[in-house]
Each structure stands twice: as C-alpha cells, then as structure tokens.
Symmetry: C2
Subunit: 382 residues, 2 copies
C-alpha cells in the first residue's frame, strides 16, 4: 500500500479548508471569551481512570488505549474534552463561585461516531460550573447559538430533551445496567420493537410510558401531551416545567422537543439540547446539564455545557473571502527588504518570488506587486 | 492513586497560560501568513510507515504506536509534523512551483525530549518546498526570527551548522548505520572520548578531523579554521561557503557556528540552524534543509523548514495584559440583554453575575459594570 494512504476516517486539511477552520476557531473562542469563558488546555492523553470514570461505556469504546512507558500504566487519548474540564474545575481551579471555561482542540475516536464522521474532530466547547439554576442552561444555549451565528450557519433549530424524564419513569423499576444501556439505545433510535421487547418484564404503566415517549417529539404541545400520557411524578413535573421555561426564554432559534432523544454523551443529568441546521447530517451542537461528572475528582459541582466539531461546522458555515496578497521580487536590496517588512507588519501578505520561479502559478491571488519606480519601491495593482 | 493525577510530563494548561499560548499561536500563524505560508492540518495519527519512513530511529522511539480497529494495521501518533507536511507537498498538492506551508498543532512523545520537556509540545512550523537555492534558507530563518520577535523574546542568537560537513568527512569511510548513529550522538554531545573510541578504525585523517570538529564552535572565524583543519573536499567547500553566505545575509540576530551540532531531527541534509534565547534551557527553534524526506511519497523536492514548541516559547515570551471586562447583573429585561449583546459584538467581555452569586470573586478583572440609570442600561467604571 502506498505510503501516502491515510487511515480511514482521517484526512489532511489542505490550505483552503484549514484557513476556514482557523478563522472559525478564532471566532468561536472570541465569542466564548466575550461571555466570560476562560480558555483551558487539558492534555491529549491521561490515565484511563481519569478519562473514563463515570462517563459511560460508549466513550470507553471510542477511546484509544496506550501504555505509558514512564509508568507502565494504561493511558487513554481523550475522545471527549468535557470530563477533563470538569476535572480542572473540581480539582485544579477549586473555585467556590461560578466558573466558566472553554476549550478547542482535537479529540480522537477509535471508530467514527457517524458513517461519514472524522475520527479526529476538532472539539470546541464551553462549560459553566457552580450554578444549579436554569440561568446556566440559558446562558450556555445562547452562547451555542451565538457560536453558530459567527459561523453564519443559517436556519438553525434547537431540539430539547431532559435526562430526568426516563429516570423518573424508571424510578421504581429495577433494571440491570446493560439492559438500561440497551433501553437507552432503543429510545435514541426510536426503535419501538426493541423497546417493547426490553420493556416486556416492566409494569404495564412503565412499558406503555416508554412506548409513548418515542412519539413525543414536535413543538411545545409535546410537553402538555407528556403530562397527560406519562405516569405523573415530581421529577417529571420539574423536568417538563424546566423545558417550558427554557423554551420561553431562549431567543434566536425555534425550539422543538424530542423527549426520547438520548443520543450523544451518557453523562447528562438534566435538560439537554441539540442544535440542527439544514445540510448537516447530524446535530452540530450537543449540550446539557451534567451535575455528576466532577464527583470522581472529589467535588460534585453543578455543570452545564455544550460542544461542537469545528471541522463539521465548516461544512455548513459560510465561506469567507481570501485576502489578496502582494507579490514582490527577490533581491538583496535593503530598500526592498524594508518595504516588505513594513507591509507584513501592517498585516499584508507579501509573497517573495524566489529567483527562477518568476513564471509560476500564484497560490495567494496577488492583486498588487512591489515595483521599483526610479529607485523607490511602490505597491501597484497588477 | 487519585483520579486527578496526570501522567508525568503532561499538564493541564490553566486560563492564565492558555490565554498566552492562544494569543501567541495566532501571532505566529499570522506572521507565517504574512510571508505567504499557507496553513495545513495533517491528522494526529497515520499508518506507521507514512510517519516514520526515512525519518530516523529517534523519531521512531518517540512515537506512540496504536492498532487501527478499522484495518488491524499499526498506526503512530505524530511526534513531528514536518514529514507529514512533506507528504502533503509531495502527494496532495503536487504543485510544480514553490510551495510554502505552515502548521500549528500538538505532537505527542512517548518520552520527554528534555529532562523538563512536555510530552505534548504544541508544534508550530513553516516549510518551503521547491527551491534549492539559499534564498529558501534565508527566508525561513528570517521568518523564524520574526516569529520570536512577535513573541517579544529578547536577545536571541542563531547557531548554524551543516549536515554535509560530517557527510563530506565520512565520504570514503564505510560505516555501519548503528555506528553512524553513535557517531552522531557523540558529536552532538561533544563527547571526545566516545568519539575517539568510535573513530579508532577510521583512517587517521578522518579521525583527527572528527575530533577537531568538536572544537569548531564560535563566531565566523570557525569557518576559516574549518577550511584549515578539515580534509578538503568539494562538498565541504560548498557547505562552508553556504554558511558564510547565510551569515552575511541574515539580519536581526548575531550568528555563531557549532559545526558538530547534530541535535534534533535526523532528516536534515544541508544547512541547519537553531535559535537560542537567555532563560530557555534548549534551542527555541530548530530548522534546516531536508531535501530527501518527500522521496518516500514519490517526489523528492528541495525543502527547508523550522519548527518550535509554542508551550516552551511562552516561558520566555513577554507577558501580555489581560483585557478588563464588564460586569452585568442577570435579569430577564430585554433592554439589558440587548445592551449585553451589543457590547459583546463590539469585542467586550461581559460577565453575567448569575442570581445568588453577587458576592463572588471576579476572575476577569471587571473594571466596568452595566448599571440601570432611570430605565437605561449604561456602562460605568467600578
């Protein structure tokens, strides 16, 4: 096999795409910063138990494992940055008040998360710790929408769910953890047949509730329908009323509901949301409340966050014009060198044509050239 | 062991450091762009033979190995980005003329490269392909110095060598590849005792030349001294005259020579350089000509480049002031929300104090607050 063939679901990002990703990355980090989210950079690899405790089996399967030559211990390459940021909040920063953190870096997956997904997403995300109220969800959702706005993604829609709904329905029904995982998968896939099969041993009310849940998607009427068809409980009432409050307060995108949606990370414990846009094969953004993740690091703080893949976002983001450059000849002339330095310091791209390459294709779309007029170097249009 | 203990030689980068790294990263990429270097993003993992063919044993030892679950083949996590960029030039872009590429991303090392080094450097680098003349070296070295200039690193010095000097000296002396590696290591460490031992079977002139080489460091006189004490050859003459030309043309930093310096990557084939600064335990930048790396990808193009670790650079870069932020209360008031959005869109950081957190420490150093005066929200100093 040729040496230049890459592994499946990986790719080189060439100049045209890399420029867009870099510009988008900056805009996303600047947007998070404008909300007061501080940047952190967790390492790409950690001991397995730090990366994976309390995060669920699917993240485990997505994680590449390595032996640390320094210690002989097992390490993992991060497949998701959120648990690392929870660790930083819980252990390293250890602040008492509200902490807002953001990040942008690669994550690696053993297997692609979707049929056409990269195994090396560039994950951008923002997390708020220390506030149990819905204002935290609202802020994070607004930031997620503003993040798509700077990318000029058109016609986005928010889809909401709540991890407490299924928890409320199963509160008095003992279920083995592998069965629960199958149940979640059947709900996520809206697979009524499997669901009926898994729920067969459950009490009739629970079984009927789970089958009804699969139909509970659509606009705000879904929440009222849920109150009617699902077995009432205090937890269900809280979950539905939280969803109503968030939908009423969120601005900037239409909100729909899909109460059976359990896709994405397994650590969510409260309201959860996904943002969709036309042309994107899957949700662009996933987020929600995950109050338990920090517990393994010694501090169980309220937490809400979201993440997105910048590489996937680029596919639906508006294209951006390439700034034209200045073409300059190569010479030892000090005046020329000084003119080039000044242009570069002022933010211009100046491409020097090295001796012998005068007739080559110009990759930077130069629209001006440095030309010598009577001993002075001047920029003139080409 | 506690879940929050990281593997040795890895670290979380907390907000104060992460902000500096991010700002520096942007300045470095913008500087490369101002020279006409186009950004590329190769994948973090590749098939082993793509990553490691022709790059030398030390890079092999530094590379984490993984099995690809999709193919069963061995993959490696990149420990150096330069060979990947040579692959992109040779195979993917396949341009006839001069191609300038840059990159900035993490590389991973099984073992730290230096006693205090991170195993996850953030590697920034620039490479120029397709020009065999010294103008390419000069441009890359100037860009390297400008990169340190935007980081405001003081008192940098350039140290030069040439991979052809040792090659010229050993041209007629057969030597096994493992012996050659030991010889390079002894030269790099200026270990005369080991060098004498390894060179014992060599002809007297070669042995004396190698031992003399270890003393050939210092200012420009070194090049004239080398002409006297080393066995003459066309290759040696070319190497020395190239070093003279580069030293005479490079502006912005004093140039010294260390003709035995063979540290860093093994793929260099011509002039090589390192940039040092006071306070940095090792060279901040290493670079040089490596005309052979693209050969394995089917195209042997002239190539010159350099790379540096942004995380190491931050330790000697000038600190940068944190921009002060605006503090805002939380409320459902539409006027307030609109005032906050406008400030954020104008580049300000606005931190909302969520209900119940009014007395908390302010991590963003807010110097202004949004305050309601007679129904209007206004920014006023705190």
């Amino acid at each position: 096999m040729s040496a230049w063939v890459l592994p499946d679901h990986t790719a080189d990002v060439l100049p045209s795409g890399a420029r867009l990703i870099e510009e988008l990355r900056r805009d996303l980090l600047d947007t998070a910063r404008s909300y007061g989210y501080e940047l952190v950079m967790p390492p790409l690899f950690e001991h397995l138990e730090s990366l994976l405790t309390g995060t669920g089996e699917s993240l485990d399967l997505q994680t590449f494992k390595l032996v640390d030559q320094l210690s002989g211990r097992m390490m993992g390459l991060r497949a998701d940055t959120t648990p690392q940021v929870a660790r930083i909040d819980a252990h390293l920063l250890n602040r008492q008040g509200v902490t807002r953190l953001c990040y942008c870096g690669p994550v690696l997956h053993t297997l692609p998360a979707q049929p056409h997904a990269s195994r090396e997403p560039l994950q951008f995300g923002s997390e708020i710790f220390g506030h149990a109220g819905l204002e935290a969800e609202l802020e994070v959702m607004s930031l997620a929408l503003d993040s798509l706005r700077v990318a000029q993604v058109q016609s986005v829609g928010v889809d909401m769910a709540d991890a407490r709904i299924v928890r409320a329905m199963l509160a008095n029904t003992p279920i083995a953890s592998d069965r629960l995982a199958q149940l979640h998968a059947a709900l996520a896939a809206k697979d009524s047949a499997s669901l009926a099969d898994i729920a067969r041993p459950f009490p009739a009310a629970v079984r009927q509730g789970l089958l009804a849940l699969v139909q509970l998607y659509g606009d705000g009427k879904v929440l009222f329908e849920a109150e009617k068809v699902l077995a009432p409980s205090a937890l269900l009432t809280t979950a539905l009323s939280d969803l109503k409050w968030l939908a009423a307060h969120l601005e900037g995108a239409p909100v729909t509901f899909d109460l059976a949606d359990l896709r994405g990370y397994a650590y969510y414990t409260g309201p959860r949301f996904a943002v969709y846009a036309p042309g994107a094969p899957d949700a662009l953004v996933r987020g929600g409340r995950y109050d338990e993740v920090g517990a393994v690091f010694g501090r169980n703080r309220p937490a809400v966050g979201f993440s997105l893949d910048v590489k996937a976002l680029v596919d639906v983001a508006a294209s951006r014009p390439l700034k034209a450059a200045v073409r300059a000849p190569w010479s030892e002339d000090r005046e020329l060198r000084s003119a080039i330095s000044t242009l570069r310091a002022n933010g211009e791209t100046v491409v020097c044509v090295l001796p012998g390459h005068e007739s080559e294709v110009d990759e930077f779309q130069c629209d001006r050239a440095l030309v010598n007029h009577g001993g002075r170097w001047m920029v003139q249009p080409i």
